[in-house]
Symmetry: C2
Subunit: 154 residues, 2 copies
DNA sequence: TAAACTGATACTATATTAGTATCAATTAAA
DNA sequence: TTTAATTGATACTAATATAGTATCAGTTTA
């Protein structure tokens, strides 16, 4: 059972990079290189995020992608929805012809309840929060700083 | 994003049928027919559940599958683990070579937290609970009884 | 001994996920 | 004004997971 697929995962990394450099343009290439994301794959993800107004872009030399939005306004729930689709509940356990009152489907009911819990939890996890956590983590133990430190705290 | 795949879904239905007739043998064929589950598919699921000691079987004429366990001791979490594998957290966001302290991976941390929430919630959902809910539902509104009523409350 | 069963396992089909490639259009800078 | 660095759009391939089918051997009861 995979919670996040690669595209959601990559999208989050890219957004963290953009959030850390909010206001300036980063090229797909630089993000791909620095964060070990397949270049062409990343480009598709970035374009998808533009369509959803999470980021903006500028074409041509010195162009790239930029975050304009408040990073706290972008939640993992949104990204999951964009890249993995809405959480799907399995079909009514009873034959459709007979059971047209889906609300009564007990399993469905349970899953929907849990789905809501998950959604609420992932909603709390925003790009802004992740970025702050990351910055704290990098400060607390600078001796084992990772490659991201240079990128996110230049 | 699919929470339950067909095999988990079918497995739950089959277990509900077995729990409702606890102590007696039901053939894969009868379960498949009554619950609209592809026969050969179901057989594989039943065998898998035997391997995990959730049910027992008897070969030959009048044979079939039986639930011996307490239905409250079988949770949806267990079934998800059997049929969909343990909840997988996406890899560390930072390069493995550099970041060997995975605990610091902020996203990973968040996902693990949420994963635990999901696991706890699905643990509360046992076959026993589902069966009781189902029986209540069938009693409360008998006028729109579904096909399961005959099976589960004969 | 025949029919109703499970055990085991191999196979096919479909869908999803992951990743690659290409070409046109745009823009900054040489 | 040309070139190189960039995005936009989209088509393609590969790998993996999910869903479903088929088959044959062995067991048991009538």
């Amino acid at each position: 059972m995979k919670v996040l697929t690669k595209n959601t995962d990559y999208a989050i990394r890219a957004l963290l990079a953009l959030a850390a450099k909010k206001g300036s343009y980063l090229s797909a290439k630089s993000i791909a290189t620095e964060h070990d994301i397949p270049y062409q794959f990343l480009r598709r993800l970035l374009q998808e995020m533009i369509r959803h107004n999470l980021i903006v872009s500028k074409e041509g030399v010195q162009g790239g992608f930029m975050m304009e939005k408040d990073p706290d306004a972008i939640s993992v729930t949104q990204l999951i929805e964009i890249f993995q689709g809405k959480v799907q509940v399995s079909e009514c356990m009873f034959r459709k012809q007979i059971c047209n009152n889906r609300a009564r489907c007990v399993l469905r009911h349970e899953i929907m309840r849990i789905e809501q819990v998950v959604q609420r939890e992932f909603e709390k996890v925003t790009i802004g929060k992740l970025l702050r956590d990351l910055q704290v983590a990098n400060k607390v133990e600078p001796q084992s700083a990772n490659i991201e430190q240079a990128v996110l705290n230049p």
